[in-house]
Subunit: 308 residues, 4 copies
């Protein structure tokens, strides 16, 4: 398939869609600024039935084709011999490198660079051996609460899932809105379902770096910018893999994180969410998540909730 | 100060207040069963202003008297030399043994045992080298959303904070309700402030095992049971340290986790919450948190939110 | 190929070759007792040219078919931004689960159990949540120094390497001794080369659990016992994989570690050693290694040296 | 006590004692080049009685004043419930940041920088997020085997141990040689005992950064250079803490690692060694150690052996 945009057109978007300076030259929160108290209060009014749906995969402790460096989860104190402890108890330990293709996590704005810069023009050098001095994940310590909107692309296309390499075009975002009866607005948390986790459950894991992932074509970037999306989430990694651009490996990551200041939610699981939205006939809900307060961190594993 | 209850009276409470079997002999969720969809929907109606307040301390990466085994937070890829990577990016890694006195976390019901048993009579042996086969934290994977209620004991006592070893009596819970104009009800998430984090900021860290912590006297246990609290949270660890009972090191932990099936939130930070409640004149709010889905885990670090 | 020994004959060997009680009922060192001061002094006299050869693979930091849980090696402080530190320096961190098929390590006698027992009849229950109370690796804290002897089976068979599943028979140990002009004696550290690491370098990694490894047939066990070998080493894991016995997954591990009290050296690299032995026409040398003093540990990664 | 050398005299030594270029401009091994095959063979002839002595402390798993970030040692599989595993076994995991004041380790030449350079003029920038591209610890993968010489300063001074802050002067190295009947020569591994570990056993741990450590005065540097020492070892960290020089925190570290290319052995335990040397009346022995092959690493934990 021929690409809709050339490489230099994509790079042109990086400049055209920039939010650098929009909230001041010192701003480190980017599009989170679109989420106001009023927006949150209005999101809460969507929580009507009280049903909650987790949008996270379990922490990925098992090595797999898409999980070369699994979470280390160890039992520090087991119950079985806990009578030897000062107080009979059980406790554990885990170690996680949460970026990658296996764990549901939020990318901080300092996670990716373009031409040596992160969001708002801060230097990549601001992330040194001791972490991020700018745009770390703890800018979101008060939580990510807003209206969530799901666009279920497999439903739109009437398929079980998108295949690796499948590109979602901006026109499909419009079509999905229409099909679902919802419209993405300022400050929303936009969740795009590709069906990746359903495919993984059916077919076993695959290596996204070798075999690809479905995701957004760069034509979606102006759409996301125009709608003033606060956070973009995916059950894959938002980007199509491979991107199709030799010199721009992850155009969506670059344009959202670096240019627009939009935090990303990667590797979520939207299967249960899609079922709930379909059952209730409602593709908007209260979204609530809070990254762990990892000061100077480049992101955090999360278990986001949709509340209906 | 003489104790209000003898050791055998406390043990008597463990039997009297038992919820074993209340939700069936296979139940692993305990008092989370008090939180219904209706309760959650009603909690969401408390989110009126849209203000959010984090209830978590930052992940505790620095060794301190109350943090002998700090979180290991390392930068896997720094920005400063990220041009050597396939895609210029930054990434990190952290390792955490979240129980203890330093990190805000939820205790799963399998975390503590009494006489070789956890909640609902499951054997301590169900937690082996590979984790918990019963009552693991992932019973809460759909999140912990309900009405939160803060009882601010320092405010009631008109002090800055409670001192290590100070005991909160059941009568003070009633008095705090009255002072705050709130009443704890079925399915609530009850948060008791001792002011520990304010004291720590003023006076530096201390070792709770040597120097103690303020907390609930066991006389509060029938109160918590009667009110059908779903989750109990503290800016300390709910228990007074030392407990005053030679053979019962953590009576509140035992009676909530093991007997009543009440999950605990330990080491939270309620300072900002207390200020917000006082400012708004409202001690009830929407509480939203979701443990990481650590299958077979004994708990999870969390960053809970209060939404007003 | 029909097996030389039936399953019950192998189990018979476990009883017949037992060293339990040989050095007293409290002994935790097993066949290390064969290494006397005199033996070490005599081994040192083999160090004549002063050449040293490492017998270890590099720590396995890269995921591979034989390395599902790689060593985590992270830079705590890089040089590139070390001017921000109190003293310009660089430092690292590593995390390792050293058992497995990828890292050169010593197995302590508490690493494997047979019918609930480890060496000398200690209960498997002696290894609890806090490690091994008997037969931990620190019984070897004063080091493993003795005469090393290499038997190079691919050389004997005039092949580049043994194939996965290939069985080395006791008669081949005799033949290799004769070919090499060496005789294994009391207190020796016996190293058996299968050529695994050469095969891995030529053909890429494979999963030993699915595709197998070459190793010793159980007929070698009486031979090892009779010669009073102190430590047994392999460039694979001493055992043939699969063992051929449905109920005895690792007969060599069981009989050496549990029955005879012989520590094992797993996943070594004997390629350079074999070249040196062939060049010098000498298959005996001073062997020197020292496990890290991991108290209560079940083994240690090592970098053993052959000194000629 | 007035310092013998001014700050600029110490910096003068860094230039005067330089071995940069001595073994070629690409050399990464520094003074290890002093250790020849002949030297090793001659060292082996010192192994006459066959006694071995470990020079390492146990891995430091317990938080202490000198160990703020202890080794994480966890049991992956305990024996007590190992019947649930595919093969009944026990296994562990450890994570270590080995630099610091608590674990016996070798410093690679890339561990410390002076004016942005490491040994032989390589840039500090050669150590990036993925480790050291120059002078990593794996230059020593074939092991550290040579003659070891102990200089027991407390014995010379007829005290139990040196106090924190005590300075060892070059004249004392001469005096100790004379007292012990030994002379340090080219390629030797020089071990200086301060008695720190004995003091720690008697008095409990202290924080070296606050309370200091005994060590070598910079006047010892020309002596070490002239004698062509290959490796310098200490039961403390070779440097006096505090150094007494405001701008030069660790003059011995800088001059040995950066200027002379001498690897350091830090935090060893020479108590048993000192007893053995005194008993045998011999302060020279075969030294054998091998760092783990941590490619791109800045050092390694070790358990070095003295063989008599």
């Amino acid at each position: 398939m021929a690409l809709s945009l050339t490489s230099s057109e994509v790079i042109g978007l990086f400049e055209k869609l920039s939010n650098w300076g929009r909230w001041g030259k010192d701003d480190q929160r980017g599009a989170l600024n679109f989420i106001t108290d009023k927006k949150r209060a209005s999101a809460a009014r969507l929580a009507q039935t009280g049903e909650t749906v987790s949008l996270a995969l379990p922490l990925a402790v098992t090595p797999a084709a898409d999980n070369p460096t699994p979470v280390t989860h160890l039992i520090v104190q087991a119950g079985i011999d806990s009578d030897r402890a000062w107080l009979p108890h059980a406790a554990d330990y885990f170690a996680i490198a949460f970026h990658g293709m296996a764990n549901t996590h939020i990318d901080a704005l300092c996670h990716v660079f373009w031409q040596g810069k992160m969001y708002n023009g801060f230097s990549a050098g601001e992330v040194g051996s001791h972490g991020a001095h700018k745009c770390a994940i703890d800018v979101a310590r008060q939580g990510l609460v807003s209206r969530g909107v799901l666009l279920d692309i497999p439903k739109l296309r009437k398929v079980e899932w998108l295949e690796p390499g499948d590109r979602i075009m901006a026109t499909e975002l419009d079509a999905a809105e229409k099909e679902h009866g919802v419209r993405v607005e300022e400050g929303d948390i936009l969740l795009i379902r590709t069906g990746r986790s359903r495919r993984r459950k059916s077919k076993d894991a695959w290596d996204p770096n070798r075999e690809g992932l479905p995701g957004l074509d760069p034509t979606c970037l102006p759409w996301i910018h125009e709608r003033r999306v606060a956070i973009l989430g995916s059950d894959a990694v938002s980007d199509v893999l491979p991107s199709g651009y030799k010199d721009i490996l992850l155009p969506i990551h670059v344009c959202t994180l670096v240019t627009m200041g939009v935090h990303l939610l990667d590797n979520a699981d939207f299967d249960a969410l899609a079922e709930t939205c379909a059952r209730l006939g409602r593709y908007e809900f209260m979204f609530a998540s809070a990254p762990l307060i990892l000061e100077r961190g480049t992101g955090s594993p999360v278990n986001p909730l949709a509340i209906f």
